[in-house]
Amino acid sequence: MPVIVGFVPTKEGRAALDAAVVEARSRNSRLIVVNASTGAASADNRYVDDDQLTALRAELDASGLDYEVSHAVHKKDPAEILVDLAEETNAELIVIGVRRRTPVGKLLLGSQAQKVLLDAECPVLAVKAPR
């Protein structure tokens, strides 16, 4: 029963990862870190590059947790990947980072976080970045 965390290289993603590490440790669970992109645009700054991936692995190695990193281009959008993966692995918790956004900003941009909150079968921990 793993803990799944959606990671992006921003301060929200950072906060989510930190919270997920704490959760996984206290529950004594495996941690699955998911970083995905649809690959639809030429550039995606939320898809980690090789350097960032190495840093991420080094950090998780240091935490001593039993972990797994899923880093790939999928046709599904990131929210679907998290939810589906949670179902497949019978996860006990999904951790996501959420941005502080105005209602108008949310209306215009849509929300991956919202999709996870609404669709996931398991508990979802939504973490905000420290101000």
Binding site: S37, T38, G39, A40, A41, S42, A43, D44, N45, Y47, V48, D49, V73, K75
Partner: protein
């Protein structure tokens, strides 16, 4: 000096508010198109061709010229910040530029690219203004056999220099000639290659072919390879240019101009070869060659200046002889033709004000590009976040709209689909597209020159080579065909023993023999 006087007159015509607006629109669109990988100026002009037919010719041409130059600027932004060349002429820029950006010197790389493009573009455009009237003076004296020879030279140069395989090049050229000759034989009035289809008797509209090849074919190709791991845009960091950067940049800028301009002017296919040459030259001449591969500013300054200079250079044969040397130049010829203007030596005589306004607005557009690109590169990079499905769905829609609008005939939509499929297949099997479009544009004209020359000589083949100029050109064509053959044979023979020892090049050996 008559060139410069005419240029000043053109400048006053180009400085009307509406012309400035169209120049601005052109450079704006051009930059955007340069930034987006997979969309080049040729595709953009092809897409806009049918839609601009309602504009006065001057403004449409000014906009297209801005688009052409803008594409060269925008490509550098993508190369530097994303390590993916926005268009093919920026491939070399990506090597050093991206390393500079990663080392926190992105701002310096972007500014040497922008200023170098400006310097090279301005010098090369002035060279164009000085050189073009001289070429025209010479070209006006040429007769039918001379023109035929020049066009055959263009055919051979485009097919043998471009791409890896001559056979693919000639196959592509043959397709272009075939499509170009469909319709009614201009001399005898008989139908040919129409297969009894009424709609083909008028010939295939070249605008439709250009839209299909450059827009449909490309969009389908990219759609077939849509999902790739995206790269990260490197944030722009560092100071613009330090004194040291400037002192290391200005020589490459000038050298790049000197390399790019002549290469643009000969029909040897685009900016890829000169930008590569410029990069190699800078690496050889650099005081610190060990910096190359780790973000040497010379490796950005030289190729970026080169590709803009070659864009200006390609306008020399375009405006004076009507010979396209790049895909974009070919589509520009279509733009002139769609307004019923024949590009060639008479262009300066018959459309003098138009040409000089065009050249003047190139200078203006170049200055606009500097202002647009230097402070706003980061903003342009945001275009890369647009999901490609939206982009290419839009392109396919505009292509269909344009293909239909050109003549308002549903038959053209079928043509669009068929030729678009052909373009896709050509990309799939590695056939270069430029020979096709050059063959398509030049074949009907070459045919007229050939038949007129033969009519004058009463069908005697010597009528094709009875001028000194045509003899020289045919000799050049022979050289162009023979030299690479001999070269590969000599090199193949010399390499054979080594290849047997190393074994790594064995795979290349059969290919070599086939070529020879």
């Amino acid at each position: 000096m008559d060139g410069l006087n005419a240029l000043l007159e053109g400048m006053s015509a180009a400085l009307t508010p509406m012309n400035l607006v169209y120049a601005f629109l052109g450079v704006l669109l051009g930059t955007a198109i340069g930034v987006l990988p997979g969309i080049g100026p040729a595709m953009a002009i092809a897409l806009l061709l049918p839609l601009t037919l309602t504009l006065p010719v001057q403004q449409a041409i000014i906009m297209f010229a801005g688009l052409y130059y803008g594409g060269m600027y925008g490509g550098s932004t993508t190369s530097i910040l994303l390590n993916t060349p926005g268009e093919s002429a920026s491939v070399m820029t990506a090597i050093e530029g991206n390393k500079m950006a990663k080392a926190g010197r992105g701002a310096a790389a972007l500014s040497t690219a922008a200023i170098g493009s400006f310097v090279a573009g301005t010098i090369a455009t002035l060279l164009l203004a000085l050189l073009a009237p001289q070429v025209v003076k010479f070209a006006i004296q040429l007769g039918d056999p001379d023109y035929l020879a020049v066009m055959l030279f263009a055919f051979v140069a485009v097919t043998t220099v471009l791409g890896s395989s001559k056979i693919r090049g000639f196959a592509s050229l043959g397709l272009g000639v075939w499509i170009g000759l469909i319709g009614i034989d201009q001399t005898s009035g008989q139908q040919r290659l129409t297969f009894g289809i009424d709609q083909l008797s008028d010939g295939i509209d070249v605008v439709v072919v250009a839209v299909a090849l450059f827009a449909m074919g490309e969009a389908l190709w990219i759609a077939a390879h849509l999902r790739r791991a995206p790269a990260q845009i490197i944030p722009i960091k560092g100071r613009l240019m330090t004194k040291e950067d400037l002192s290391r940049s200005w020589r490459p800028w000038l050298r790049g101009t000197a390399i790019g301009f002549p290469f643009g002017a000969i029909p040897a296919g685009g900016a890829e070869i000169p930008t590569f040459l410029s990069y190699v030259t800078e690496r050889k001449l650099a005081k610190k060659p060990e910096e190359f591969g780790h973000g040497a500013i010379e490796g950005v300054a030289g190729p970026e200046a080169t590709n803009n200079a070659s864009a200006a250079g390609s306008l020399v044969p375009l405006l004076t002889l009507g010979i396209p040397t790049t895909a974009t130049a070919a589509v520009m010829i279509l733009a002139f033709q769609s307004y019923g203007i024949a590009v060639g030596p008479r262009l300066f005589e018959e459309q003098g004000p138009l040409v000089w306004t065009l050249i003047a607005s190139l200078l203006i557009g170049n200055a606009m590009l500097l202002v647009l690109n230097l402070p706003m590169a980061g903003l342009w990079a945001k275009l890369l976040l647009i999901p490609r499905p939206y982009l290419y769905a839009g392109i396919l829609m505009f292509a269909s709209l344009g293909g239909y609008a050109a003549n308002g005939s549903p038959f053209d939509l079928w043509l669009l689909l068929i030729v678009g499929g052909l373009g896709f297949a050509m990309r799939r099997y590695g056939l270069p597209i430029v020979p096709l479009i050059v063959g398509l544009i030049l074949a009907p004209r070459a045919e007229i020159f050939m038949r007129r020359a033969l009519q004058i000589s009463d069908g005697n083949l010597s009528g094709l080579v009875n001028t000194p100029f045509s003899k020289v050109v045919y000799a050049l064509i022979l050289l162009l065909v023979i030299v690479p053959l001999v070269w590969s044979k000599v090199r193949g023979r010399r390499n054979t023993p080594e290849d047997q020892h190393t074994g790594t090049d064995d795979v290349r050996m059969p290919a070599n023999n086939e070529g020879a």
